[in-house]
Point group: C2
Chain length 176, copies 2
Amino acid sequence: MDIQHIILGFLMDRSMTGYDIRQRFSLSFSFFSGISYGSIYPALKSMEKDGLINTRLEIQEGTPNKKICTITKKGREAFLKALRSPLSLERYKNLFLARMFFFSHLNPEERVTYAQQYLDELNETRRKLEEIQPQIEKHADPFQHLCFTCGQRIIKDLMETIQDAAKSLKKIEKWS
Amino acid sequence: MDIQHIILGFLMDRSMTGYDIRQRFSLSFSFFSGISYGSIYPALKSMEKDGLINTRLEIQEGTPNKKICTITKKGREAFLKALRSPLSLERYKNLFLARMFFFSHLNPEERVTYAQQYLDELNETRRKLEEIQPQIEKHADPFQHLCFTCGQRIIKDLMETIQDAAKSLKKIEKWS
DNA sequence: TCGATCATGTAATTGGTTACATGATTGC
DNA sequence: GCAATCATGTAACCAATTACATGATCGA
């Protein structure tokens, strides 16, 4: 399940342009995978070369022309195969925890400040998720909706964990 | 806080070889950042070039020679600067959730099976963390210890989230 | 004798990112 | 008149992985 497979997943339901794909990403998928045009267009190119998609140019006036991508039979097979392939457990990456590991080198006030800053950022993410919730509720299928609620819960849990960590940081304030 | 800064963080307390650094990573740090020799040695090389560390060769008999890396004043400054630099919130990446997003393309039994597989893998991680806990308790400073307990809690929370998601998957079994 | 541990390193590849380049239309 | 939206794409770069290469020693 790399970027190519995710794009194929989107194309399973309907044909789309690279631009459309970017939009879908930043909507329902943004929580656990961002993506930029710099990776979408090269991916589409190589997928066309490999026969996983077909493209058709739609001439438009006023706005730029669209290159509409349609998944092929081969593409559908590749997608389903990837969806069923063994899942490799990725490492959980957390830049704040990685820093906290070295907090002995900061002074006590800084430690709490940085924890609070991270909490603020998490809260901002939580807010954004809440903001797009109505759109998810309208357009997502049950699995996509479940995906979204899992994302919300993960953020909520993480915030609680960091809040408690911040409390602990205050307690070990005297440590140098 | 990229790999170079994390290495510098380790070197703040004592001089180490590339090999030592790898060991420390896979112990206390493994939860949220893995690392291979293929990235450690090139990093050390470029850090020496930039004057962030000094190296000294320790000739050994029987076992291979050691190249002992020591952080310089410039390295200490670079580390502290990085530790205090603004934190960029990384995206939360979760390959299972990314797949679940497309679960409409699987049949109901498969959905539950794959969720269970992911749970098994998470449980394996939880078990490994429990296994190294005694070592953490012995050697880690309070912040590193806190880091570890946060990691444990995050895994535990995630397992509960996925368990509940699996229950939901069973409920929407009829959806095609 | 076979695999693990100690120890360093390079090369090829992966999987992205950011910045750049282009250019019309629409809304404030 | 300026920013945002629509729309496609390339180039330079980055951070890391995996596989490869070398080779001794020690314990089961």
